[in-house]
Symmetry: D2
Subunit: 326 residues, 4 copies
């Protein structure tokens, strides 16, 4: 950054929204301004980058958004950006607007987009935001803690009614490729058994776990099923009812409420730290990296590394969930 023209940072949110994205936008804007940079908000994700949906952000533009779910910049999935000409158009728009660097907040797909831009010479830093916690290189992504608390509160409600009727509840959580939310929900909700994409189970195994809970005198059973589990939730419910496992079964598909809600303290703090670090990283000249939480520290990792490591399931938690439900 020379004395004449301030360093200009673009910021966009992309992919599925996650609670805490607004807290991250606020951190980027305020950190940028505190460092004499100029910050441009890009609306509608990569689509807005192509269309030039830009507006300069002042400190008051991010006032009152810390506690709001969703993203004030909106987000969209862009088909056009996956093509070379979409990316070329985006780069042209960025140059026109004098953007010196870009912060991309989003999940796996968004980070691929960030990497593609970085490969073409744009300075880009990625921030992981995805309620599924399926991004390698960060212990937690923005939105995970809020989503987990939302699931937990829903299950706390279902337990009231499950106990009153001696029922087994099958609760479907998000997680097409990752069982993280489901396994953690299993521990914090006291589930009998958890079904995740990473660990196929048989219907018999599930039936045994539920029947065992019945025999042990439990007044209800909770079964958490990730969207991507090897058995479909409603199929499972039907089969369990046919098998007679003691409890009658009911299904609840939590759906989109898992993406909403005010961010928790953890997500606001994580978003503040990641957004702040992403901004200083750009100002330091870093590019093609993601900021991630590693233990207690925020670290920079090459996007190349992040995108080529599959995140694996933590079987320790999977086993813990089962042991503690006994």
């Amino acid at each position: 950054m020379d004395g004449q023209k301030p360093f200009t940072i673009g910021i966009l949110t992309s992919g599925g929204d996650a609670p805490g994205m607004n807290a991250c936008i606020r951190a980027v804007v305020r950190t940028g301004l505190a460092n004499n940079a100029r910050v441009i908000g890009v609306a509608n994700g990569f689509e807005g980058l192509i269309n030039g949906d830009f507006r300069v952000m002042g400190p008051r533009d991010v006032g009152g958004i810390l506690q709001r779910g969703g993203t004030i910049l909106q987000t969209r999935r862009s088909m056009l950006f996956k093509e070379a000409r979409g990316q070329r158009e985006a780069i042209r728009r960025m140059n026109e607007a004098g953007m010196d660097g870009l912060v991309v907040v989003g999940g796996d797909g968004s980070l691929h987009g960030a990497h593609a831009l970085a490969q073409q010479g744009i300075k880009v830093v990625g921030v992981p935001a995805s309620i599924d916690n399926d991004i390698w290189g960060t212990n937690m992504a923005i939105g995970v803690d809020t989503a987990l608390n939302t699931i937990m509160e829903a299950v706390d409600k279902l337990r009231d009614t499950a106990s009153s009727h001696s029922r087994a509840f099958l609760i479907e959580t998000m997680g097409r490729g990752s069982g993280y939310l489901a396994v953690m929900a299993g521990i914090v909700c006291g589930a009998e058994i958890v079904l995740v994409p990473e660990v196929p189970v048989s219907v018999e195994e599930v039936a045994d776990a539920v029947e065992d809970a019945y025999r042990r005198g439990k007044t209800h059973a909770i079964i958490i099923v990730a969207e991507g589990a090897n058995i479909h939730t409603t199929d499972l419910a039907r089969i369990l009812d046919e098998m007679d496992v003691g409890f009658t079964t009911r299904v609840t598909i939590l759906g989109h409420i898992q993406r909403g809600g005010r961010p928790t303290a953890f997500d606001r703090l994580l978003a503040a730290r990641l957004g702040t670090r992403a901004t200083t990283a750009l100002l330091e000249g870093q590019t093609d990296v993601m900021v991630g939480l590693q233990g207690r520290e925020i670290e920079l990792l090459p996007l190349e590394t992040v995108l080529t490591h599959p995140r694996t399931a933590n079987m320790e938690y999977y086993d813990m969930a089962r042991m503690l439900a006994r």
Copy 2:
């Protein structure tokens, strides 16, 4: 009640559970004891009445339950009780246990059971508890206010994510025969349109309302669909997507979380008032009546009257919901 043997009150909860049932049980037990009566809790609804699942309740047995959802007495639907021999068996059990009167907390089906017992000479007072608010003779049944707040909080979460993606959300609430919850949710959530069993609408009408919201510059649209509406929620979503109404659509079926959760202040207060009045009514010798909220007062109504009046939809609220969403 003579000086020798205290008046003995039985209490049971029946049908679908509703938040505030525990607050009502507490009120019956404590009001009974304050009036030198004996209170017997009947587990598992009418099924428990037939099986003699009885336990004498002291004041500490209802400690710490005021804030809990569900019902500590559990509830069950009983096929056997619908038959004369089931009722005969129940009456025999009540006599064995020396029960002088019974409080039945539940919905329409439960009040029919209460009425059947009363017709056979048992002193019975009914307390309306049903999240659908489908019981004639009470402005509000126990559980309705909590369910409505639960729906509202879920929609508040969905709105975050709807706005971030420019989406129309179809949210299915409980209400097979009654649109009360859906209409009220429409007002308190700012829904574009509400679909209820009492008012058939065409797909075109819904599409117009959503497209109109899009044209007026809204960043999202909320459509509330009662379970018993004339168009099925997922069908509606598919058709709207085919018609292209500006927004893309998503569906969330709220399901059983609507029955759970800590009761709100309104439901705890209503349960306290209804439970207290039901108990004093029994002690006064009343029978075959329901306690209901009429304006600000708790009144007694003959069960016969309650069960023969269908509750009708309040179109004033239906129209208000539409006007205020503009």
Copy 3:
């Protein structure tokens, strides 16, 4: 309203803020527009009326506010408006802006201001909003239900820690002149005893109630104290500790959180109904009246009547709170 110039409605919020005020503003704006009126928002209460802090409100200006606490029009206490010249200035500003009528949302002081304007020929309709529920002529004012739920949730939290330490908790609620919130909180929180301005009690009476709870085997005791009770909360705690009532005592003063938070479903609905009716009342040519909830209906009452009737405590609830805590 003639065909040329639309009827113009002003709307202001005044006095202490209450959750649901925004829902009411939204209802006034949207009902006005639906009836072809023009709506002007007045910022900062009567102070803004004097200063001409006016802006024309369109339907999108009240988008996304239904669920927000506080008031987007802000509120202030105005000394100047209490004087004749303040009121004269306000009337001049209203005439300049072409206001044909005014909706005033607020508590007792605000309704006095409304009445003063009406006496000088301005068409004014008042809407009761006051978390204390101290306004005669409406069963509930806007904000009461939310405040009561906020108190209840705080006490639910305190009970966890009270039980773990065998403590008596003294919880001070708002209510300088009215014990409504305290008494209702007593019922819904299961308080041992409630202290309110309307019913002086002696320290001995409180000590007896707490000691009695200890003897009956309770693991904690809850005492609700309205701000305006005859004994000061911290004095009471000190004396109880000196008297040795079994439990050790702790004090929590809930303070301003009672005014905040997202409005509950009840408050959103009440605000929608009152705001809608206030607007149609102005359009019908009504003035110097307040809209109030009477049983299930919204009624109009002369402000004169409202302001000259003191609201009295409902001793029935006071006694119920004590009986149910046993």
Copy 4:
């Protein structure tokens, strides 16, 4: 553990209660039983250890407690246990009951007690639980995340009313010796300035921060004050009002609600992990250690080390709070 007599584990909670203690008790009981150990619950902390308030815990005794705040084993501060004869008596009771090891869940004082017992040959493992997060050797203690969310939700409510009145709110949080909660609350609540025991500030500095917020056009200011800050909250409010900083000021002392409430997902998970590891550590023969969260892992640390390291403030977060509030 030989084949004849199962290894017997005692578990107690001590000091101030913290949300998640119950989830920890549940984890210890279920992990113990899963490893064929016997688990004895000790009521009332070290006082109960001296008095022999013991009960054998089965798996159902910890059913339904995962989501409850406080501690079902209750907690108390024991003067007697600080003396040698108190400890001697406790050891005698433990031997009588055949306890082979003890899990102590609590804060700094409780861990000192645990260390004292270990020094006398009892096998003891400590689990850090303290909402202040003032224990060295664990990134987070049980209860911190819930307390932080409780503070945040209270401030979210206060912000509604602060904005409606253009006010500065001074909010006092717990933290006599540690500013952790206050600083983190500052970041997640968007506070203008935070006052903590570790960093003395002058009144002028606070006044500047608030006046600066006023000048920048903010509609409210939030000031978080830890209990142990160098200026007392109410003094500060009075002085700010005298100095005229643009906003009028109001004070809210959050008090004991910070200890209550249902534990968050983070606290339930942390409690599960720490409780499980504490139990397996005892079974492995470990003693005089604390289980702590280090980055992503649960580690064992000598209690001696834990108790002799003062935990220091993290100035990075303190500065971040200020920068992000601009």
